[in-house]
Symmetry: C2
Subunit: 357 residues, 2 copies
């Protein structure tokens, strides 16, 4: 029996092993079109319609910190990050199941505030909170959310499908979530210092950190880009591949390139970095480009598009073309503002198991 | 802000609050036929077909103890308990999503053994392991499983629907899981004593506790009664209501009675108690009837049937008629072997939050 720890093989290594073990179960169910390896599982509901389904587990102290996360926001984010996976398939959400494990000393108000946040987000995305499970936890709160969605079969967009010549596009702005986390982590330090000295901490995180409000909002209250999916459907735009940016632009583009067996080149000068993220990076003497590339949690959509469809997205102010897909042997490159290229594969997102970026 | 702890309102009180908060989200999704309150959520796929979906969160030290639970069994049980909920809707399972949170020091073999158990169970139930999420945990392992299933609309069986005069039926035998847990908990004590004294513990739980094997098996490796659902479909049997026994016969019958707005009377003498559970109860100077009524985790099906369909189930050796449905005002009664009646509402299952039975 091998006692090699999972930190040796990392999150992606682990997912590969699990996918291998799950593989034989797929044969018995003819409707399964995609198993483990994309943003969602895909199940054929009819010859013309597919169901997509995704699930996310949020663990206190690993994925969220109740000291710096308003509960209502946490509830909302738990829903949004799953809806974001549904959007990444070019699908529309339908219903959610929510499980929660709670310390028995949790207050009723704690649970109600959390579910109010979920309910508000669910209404925004026209998604029903249709079921779930409640149970006890001995150590901190755990939230598990599963969301299903539907798509017309021809609209379904996977990570694979990008081809050389395609445009690489991204929605919204990047780096905000990572920058917001920087500020919140510093603020937590101040908070803990106050409490350690027996002083009260009277600052309201959101109103007292106003100069960082957009970045903090991006971290605490990300919005799934369901508006972009609606724009696609309205204008008959079908990306050739798509993913949502949860790990960071570089590792998520890497997912597309690996599954599509292509390379890519993106231009640093075109990255839509949130201006506030640049200010925060300056304050921390860091580079906002790194927040965008490997910070993750921006929950924007990264997609590729046939170049002859450029006109269709041009009028949309919140979509930026940042590069193009190349043949696989050209690798995955970032061209900096001086024209120098850097290998993007050296910039991986944070791996929960190895603890390495 | 009320700081009343959730232990004050208990698991059912909490579910009621959550259902109230989720209610407004259901309106936006026309297909949702049943929200929170049954074994599964119900979503209309077409005028003639429904999808059912259920989710369960298993938390280490709350729902399982790795000292006494072989990992492969744990994986299998995580799948089976969800399939059991699908069966309770008279539906057939389709696909599962599995999330797992792991301490980073977990071995690769640990994860593979767990997933091998899930994969084996999934194949047994013809269910695809189609996706999921892996993440880190600081405190113990957490497993979240979501399973979807499908049913012809007329076959769908809810907790509500039982009517006075209906037969109350149960599958398999009862009390085994609770009896098995008794033995395993005692064995854990022996194990811990050995380790405390620096002695090795060489007993293999399953082979050394052979005289208790059926009860232990019922606790560690329960089987969802998909065979019963297949029998129903083959013989055109549609129960008027159904639930799977996860909390215990008494609280689960209470769920049916409350949702159906009826009463019930069941006969102690007819309860199909596992003989080994009786022996174990004797050993612990307890009553095996209590294991059956409030022990829970037997994952048998409890259902009601129009009395004129009694002939249809009579040939099945693993279905027992244990009582009948009565008008609501007659309450929920257990008639003991001497003909005395006891109010079953005083026997509730274990509540995770109040810590009370």
């Amino acid at each position: 029996m091998s006692l090699k720890p999972i930190s040796d093989i990392g999150e992606f290594g682990l997912i590969e092993r699990i996918a291998g073990i799950a593989e034989p179960t797929l044969e018995a169910v003819p409707g399964i079109a995609e198993g483990i390896g994309d943003d969602c599982a895909v199940y054929a509901l009819s010859p013309s319609k597919v169901q997509v389904a995704t699930t996310d587990l949020l663990v206190e102290h690993v994925h969220f910190d109740l000291l710096t996360t308003p509960l209502q926001h946490l509830g909302s984010k738990a829903i949004s990050v799953n809806i974001s996976d549904i959007c990444a398939m070019n699908a529309s959400p339908r219903y959610a199941l929510v499980s929660i494990a709670l310390p028995s000393k949790s207050s009723v108000t704690f649970v109600e505030t959390l579910y109010n946040g979920m309910s508000e987000a669910a209404r925004l995305y026209k998604t029903a909170l249709a079921g779930g499970d409640t149970s006890m936890s001995l150590n901190g709160t755990v939230i598990s959310v599963t969301v299903t969605g539907e798509a017309v079969k021809e609209h379904l967009t996977l990570r694979k499908g990008a081809q050389p010549g395609d445009l690489v596009c991204v929605t919204g702005s990047l780096g905000g979530a990572a920058a917001g986390l920087k500020v919140l982590t510093r603020e937590k330090g101040i908070m803990v210092e106050h409490l350690r000295h027996g002083e009260s901490y009277e600052r309201d995180i959101l109103s007292n950190l106003k100069e960082y409000d957009e970045a903090i909002r991006q971290q605490l209250l990300p919005a799934a880009r369901i508006d972009i999916i609606e724009f696609f459907h309205k204008h008959n735009i079908i990306p050739t591949s798509m993913i949502d940016i949860s790990d960071g632009l570089a590792p998520d583009l890497l997912h597309i390139c690996r599954r599509s067996e292509v390379g890519a080149i993106i231009e640093e000068g075109k990255l839509p970095i949130l201006p506030q993220a640049r200010h925060i990076a300056d304050e921390f003497q860091e580079d906002a480009v790194n927040y965008a590339l490997s910070g993750g949690e921006d929950y924007q959509l990264l997609f590729t598009l046939k170049s002859d469809q450029a006109d269709l997205i041009a009028p949309h102010r919140d979509i930026t073309v940042i590069g193009r897909i190349t043949p696989a042997d050209e690798g995955m490159l970032l061209q900096d503002i001086y024209g120098m290229t850097i290998d993007l594969e050296t910039i991986e997102g944070f791996d929960h198991f190895t603890g390495k970026e």
